[in-house]
């Protein structure tokens, strides 16, 4: 099989960072904050690379839609074993309002150019938590989808995917081409080795613009404000189990 896999990835605030809302409540502060590849996308890259190593795919192409600085996560993906990278570059203002529908349309344009047999993406980005892009791309392409994947087997023109659904697991067989979105259990991404990080610097990274793909990236949702959630304050220390049980039974009347 000579399948190409396209892996869309996103640059987000690192999952270990405690985020802060800007003083003017317009957005979450991104200045001087550590940024990384979205963890679910890292799982997607790993899965694609494993499929290539297993001989199921011949090429892994990673793509991100974002500002010039997003090249760093493309290089990280190349260091994990992707072959080639594409940046669909937008300016800072556009990147702040780039929404899943627009990204899905950009990816559709790229799918038209690259003709992958499979798209693997993270189930959601841990910044906007939208959980939409993969499904939207599948719909725009008229392709089947298998979201929240915890196991992927490719054979005979089909992907057999075990999905993490509420209350258990569900295994589907979908015809290819298709979109698969990754859940946490799919794999454990490798660490990039130093030689691979060096090699990644020489791998091709192509830069396109949203305009060159003919996609309108204007937002459909306007963010009116971003606020901190109501703060939880520390409650009380109870001295022993009897006191705890008394509180639970009598104060919040929870049990």
């Amino acid at each position: 099989m000579s399948m190409k896999i396209l892996v869309p990835i996103k640059r987000v605030v690192d999952y270990n960072v405690k985020i802060r809302v800007k003083a003017d409540n317009s957005a979450v502060e991104l200045d001087n904050v550590k940024m990384s590849m979205n963890p679910f996308d890292e799982i997607a890259v790993e899965e694609a690379v494993r499929l290539k190593e297993a001989g199921v795919a011949v090429e892994v192409v990673v793509v991100t839609c974002g500002i010039a600085a997003a090249q760093d996560i493309l290089r990280s993906a190349l260091a994990l074993g992707a072959d080639r990278a594409i940046l669909v570059e937008v300016d800072v203002a556009q990147s702040e309002t780039l929404q899943p529908l627009a990204v899905a349309k950009l990816l559709k344009a790229l799918v038209g150019q690259e003709q992958p047999g499979l798209v693997i993406c993270g189930k959601q980005a841990i910044d906007d938590d939208a959980n939409q892009t993969g499904q939207m791309l599948a719909a725009l392409q008229g392709w089947p989808q298998a979201t929240f994947a915890s196991k992927v087997v490719i054979a005979d023109g089909k992907a057999t995917v075990t999905r993490e659904v509420d209350g258990g697991l569900e295994t589907l067989a979908v015809t290819l081409p298709a979109v698969i979105s990754t859940d946490l259990r799919l794999n454990e991404p490798r660490y990039a080795t130093l030689p691979n990080i060096m090699k990644a610097k020489k791998k091709p990274l192509n830069i396109l613009t949203a305009a060159s793909l003919g996609v309108d990236v204007a937002p459909r949702l306007i963010t009116r404000s971003v606020n901190e959630p109501p703060k939880r304050t520390a409650g009380i220390r109870v001295g022993d189990v009897a006191q705890l049980v008394d509180k639970l039974k009598n104060e919040p009347k929870i049990i």
Binding site: V13, K18, L101, D128, D129, P144, A178, V238, P252, I255
Partner: protein
Amino acid sequence: MSILVIAEHDNATLKAGTRNTLSAALKLGITADILVAGYNCQPAARAAASLAGVNKVKVADAAHLADGFAENLASLVVSIAAGYSYILAPASTYGKNFMPRVAALLDVAQISEISAVVDANTFVRPIYAGNALATVESKDAVKVITVRTTSFDAAGDGGSAAIENVLSPADLGCTTLVERELSVSERPELGAAKIVVSGGRGLGNGENYQRVLAPLADKLGAALGASRAAVDAGFVPNDYQVGQTGKIVAPQLYIAVGISGAIQHLAGMKESKVIVAINKDADAPIFQVADYGLVGDLFELVPQLTAAL
């Protein structure tokens, strides 16, 4: 301003989240229609018709809708979408799966996992795993919305809506079900449980985790959860994980046992109504969000708690 709610059900009964989704819909209008799509799903349709605030139940009953595949479901919803200003579904794995397809096919944004309705076009939704709340205004004529069910009350009974059959578009035929293994646990689902008992690295190993926490969970009728540290250490499978990269939970009562309270974990549980923390380290960050903190040896305290309930 017509509203359509997509019911989540197993053909026989409605899933609880359908009621909460209806409640969210009824903040946008006086009544809503409900779509029940499935196979031999008349019992679920009758249950939907008896909910308060329902105008009409639309039933699409076809073999190819039996398994709730996103492709067929989205094509059905789009086929009946004309005239609706709002289309809502629960933000469960069911709703999250097909609703973005509906939005893309209608060329509108999806507003994911709303936790409040501000006005006809404006909604609050958690971002960064609930560490911030965004207020967003939709510019689209049709609002495709998934609903964080823990943020809305369950709609009550008392309705007697008419049930109307609708035709379903043909099977797209791109997906087949191979297997479904739903957890046979007697315990409630982690994401929907009213009480969650969660364990961390402090339990030491998987055997201790089960021995100490299972009796407490059984007594409370609670779901079991875990911190990422406990999952990474192999105490329990990944689907137990509560946190930013695991499940986000908001139960009435969350009991954190031997969990230090990393940011990652707090992001997944701090919307719980009441938090109890049991930990031997009095300085553990979990105590900063706990309503009731108990410092001490969990191996003594948890069995005592189980016995005292």
